[in-house]
């Protein structure tokens, strides 16, 4: 019998193993374990090893969770640890060395699963719709995107890669923010972000959602990703779209007023921090809920189209209805409705639809058809015939919605009052991308935005000149002097925006930087696990790293060229004690205020 340690790759640093195991495929005595392995990374791992690892880890996980009646989040061995996620019959594991902070591993596993659900919807239904090979390719894309990243520190903090704002005129950031705001004048646009060469310039969305959208722009993704129908040949190659799925939590965050957002997100974040085992963030996995109500009335084989709509059918139609209403109003209202409003909406439905559609005088015949085709239904989405050829998933949604509407009438209530993220379904949305060379405007829009030619033209033309200009500006900025090795290293993590500022060069394997990265990840771990911890110094014989955190930020600082006077007992002359004041002074010029 092999021990677990022998099975694991010797490579020590970072995350090195990931699998998804479907226990429902391995029920009978004769069922081979391999039948349950949906995806295993590294893919070249011999199948016997895959089976052993999956079998043992899933077995241990299940055993412990049954004994303790609580889900397993982490399995720790002597030299390896595994972040675990279990939902229904699915079992995910992400393995890494002990050196990687537990919070980072657990967060990364969440991210992988969330990323999958963002682009594919529920895991269970994805495996009913697509072949294992297709989905394996996607897991692999998501993994390679998430495991890449510019530096190890970015992994430790799971931070977004942003443009180097020290190099960019702040007015250009304002310009980017204004472009996004201008797009929101169209009520079908929820929120957006602007990326330049794979880095965030400006975003209106939570770091989580922004990160997921950025995945779409990664190289591996571009090569293979299934893109939706080109919204319109009018705009040529510049514009593309793909369907995505938001959790109710994410949707609510996007729909809430910007002022509320910040506090909301903070709450969410501090909650995560308090919770050392990251229960909360793990529970946000969107797949969780969907499979729980996985459409028992619709056998997968009956109708291909009915599989694609996710379980939130009644909510879908609510959302689709919103824009047709707000189309009559100039400003985008928060489209939250509670159950009491719903009846009224339905009464107004047909008339608002009419005004909405007649407002665009130059509609094609097919769109008129779409309108009439829908008029008998409650769906409200106008995608009917327009995308019949390109996007079957979309079009066949309506009958499905209509069918479930009746049975789910109470659904409006849960929609209006969130939010146990674990219990909320996924909402289909569309990701609209407008590309100008290295610059990408990404907008989350209502799915039927693609059918509304007038709205699309409005959004496209209102931002085209500004995007052209912004691209020209950003392209002309010369990258700053790289890696000016100063007498100190720092890393500053903004928890609310999930951004990292550092003077680390980011070169792989920079020898003098290793101890700093290790110390920072260790301190980060401690900060996450110990809510009351605010300042700490971590040291060995030659180096000392100072860490300080508040609810909104974490900062790490190392000073070079100081001879450590350390006699082993507390000593007021100990140079480590001067680190906090040095950090305060040094970091001010980087815009980090520790006062």
């Amino acid at each position: 019998i092999w021990t677990m340690a022998e099975l694991l790759p010797p490579e020590s640093r970072g995350c090195n193993l990931f699998f998804l195991y479907d226990g429902s495929k391995v029920k009978g005595e004769g069922d081979p374990t391999s039948k349950g392995i949906c995806y295993f990374y590294p893919e070249e791992t011999p199948i016997e090893k895959q089976e052993l690892l999956c079998g043992q880890l899933a077995g241990v996980g299940r055993c412990i969770s049954e004994l303790s009646s609580s889900p397993v989040r982490l399995l720790t061995l002597r030299r390896h640890k595994f972040a675990i996620h279990m939902k229904e019959e699915f079992f995910w594991a992400l393995g890494s060395s002990m050196e990687t902070p537990t919070v980072s591993v657990c967060e990364l596993l969440n991210k992988i699963i969330n990323l999958f659900c963002f682009y594919n919807g529920s895991v269970r239904q994805s495996y009913q719709l697509h072949s294992q090979e297709t989905l394996a390719a996607r897991w692999s894309q998501y993994l390679s995107y998430l495991l890449a990243g510019p530096s190890e520190l970015h992994h430790v903090f799971s931070s977004l890669t942003t443009i180097d704002s020290t190099n960019v005129d702040p007015l250009l950031l304002l310009k980017a923010a204004l472009i996004l705001q201008a797009c929101q004048r169209c009520p079908l646009v929820l929120a957006g972000c602007i990326l330049f060469r794979g880095r965030v310039v400006s975003t209106q969305m939570s770091p989580d959602v922004t990160m997921k959208i950025m995945a779409h722009e990664s190289e591996t993704f571009k090569a293979q990703s299934p893109t939706g129908p080109n919204p319109s040949s009018l705009f040529g190659d510049a514009v593309s779209s793909t369907s995505v799925f938001l959790t109710m939590f994410e949707l609510h965050y996007l729909q809430s007023a910007p002022v509320d957002r910040e506090s909301w997100y903070r709450k969410q974040n501090t909650f995560q921090l308090k919770d050392s085992s990251l229960h909360h963030s793990l529970s946000r996995t969107p797949s969780d809920t969907v499979s729980s109500e996985s459409v028992p009335s619709d056998p997968p084989s009956s109708q291909k189209g009915t599989l694609s709509p996710r379980s939130s059918a009644s909510d879908n139609s609510d959302f689709s209805r919103v824009p047709s209403q707000s189309a009559t109003e100039p400003v985008c209202p928060a489209p939250n409705k509670d159950a009491s409003l719903e009846a009224e909406d339905k009464v107004q439905q047909s008339s608002t639809d009419d005004t909405f559609h007649s407002s665009g005088g130059d509609r094609s015949d097919s769109e008129h058809n779409a309108t009439s085709h829908l008029s008998g239904e409650d769906g409200g989405a106008c995608c009917g015939t327009v995308f019949d050829s390109g996007d079957k998933e979309h079009c066949n949604e309506e009958p499905h919605n209509g069918k479930l509407e009746g049975s789910n009438t109470g659904g409006g209530g849960t929609y209006a009052t969130p939010i146990d993220p674990d219990e909320t379904p996924l909402v289909p949305m569309t990701l609209y991308l407008h590309r100008v060379k290295g610059l990408v405007l990404a907008l989350l829009v209502e799915p039927h935005f693609l059918c509304d030619q007038a709205a699309m033209e409005e959004v496209y033309h209102s931002c085209l000149a500004s995007l052209n200009g912004l691209e020209a500006h950003l392209r002309s900025i010369s990258p700053g002097a790289p890696g000016t090795a100063g007498p100190y290293i720092f890393a500053h993590f903004d928890c609310a925006q999930s951004t990292l500022t550092t003077n680390l060069s980011g070169r792989p394997g920079g020898a003098p930087e290793r101890p700093f990265v290790r110390a920072a990840s260790l301190l980060h771990s401690h900060f996450c696990n110990t809510e009351t911890l605010q300042e700490a110094i971590i040291r060995n014989a030659t180096t000392a790293v100072y860490g300080v955190r508040s609810a909104a930020q974490e900062t790490y600082f190392l000073q070079y060229g100081v001879t450590l006077r350390n006699s082993g007992i507390p000593n007021h002359q100990d140079s480590a004690f001067s680190l906090p004041s040095k950090a305060r002074h040094r970091l001010l010029k980087h815009g980090v205020n520790l006062l």
Binding site: D169, L171, L172, L174, K175, L178, A182, H461, S462, L464, A465, S466, N468, G469, L470, A472, H473, S476
Partner: protein
């Protein structure tokens, strides 16, 4: 006459609020938005058109008029084929500043022969009833400062916008044709060079 499509860069300069962005939007998308925000830095749109049998892609650069955006806009003056100096007929100061805009452009665009460079002057907001700058004043300025063509435009009701851009294109094409005439002499030089080179080597 060539059938090749050439890319011409024209740049709109003038005080903040005179309507440069509106002129560009009116010309390219035929839309008018009374609530545009200040332009930050530069923006541009392309438009294909045909002038006197020439296929031209006009790249129209719109710039920020406010002084505080100066450092953002000036790097983009280079390479312009034509400059549209814009003022608002209901704002005398914007008219008085035309000279400064011209100077700024010549300096940052590094124009070799400023007296030959095609400028076109636009007096925008013709739709506004209370004028501060008369057409005579404007024409006189144009005459005295290099005989620039002058157009009174309204981005709001589309008056003269297309005409002005077409005139800009004509000026550029006229410049190019003059330059074309010079080419033969240049080619002669090129032919001569290798010859002199051979004599050198032999």
């Amino acid at each position: 006459m060539s059938n090749k499509t050439s890319l011409l860069k024209v740049i709109l300069l003038g005080d903040g609020g005179v309507g440069k962005s509106s002129i560009m939007n009116r010309y390219v998308t035929n839309k008018f938005d009374a609530h545009l925000f200040h332009t930050i830095g530069v923006e541009f749109l392309n438009k294909d058109l045909e002038v006197d049998g020439h296929q031209v892609t006009l790249q129209i650069w719109d710039t920020a008029g406010q002084e505080r955006f100066r450092s953002l806009r000036t790097p983009f003056y280079r390479g312009s084929d034509c400059c549209l100096l814009t003022f608002s007929v209901d704002d005398n100061q914007s008219f008085l500043n035309l000279g400064n805009w011209k100077k700024e452009f010549i300096y940052y665009a590094d124009v070799k022969e400023p007296e030959k460079f095609p400028f076109v002057v636009l007096g925008n907001k013709l739709d506004v009833s209370e004028r501060q700058v008369s057409a005579e004043e404007a024409r006189q300025w144009c005459q005295e400062n290099g005989d620039h063509p002058y157009y009174e435009t309204s981005a709001k009701d589309a008056t003269n916008v297309a005409v002005a851009f077409e005139e800009a294109v004509r000026r550029v094409l006229a410049m190019d044709e003059r330059a074309d005439h010079l080419i033969p002499t240049d080619t002669v030089k090129l032919h001569r060079k290798p010859r002199s080179a051979t004599t050198c080597c032999s």
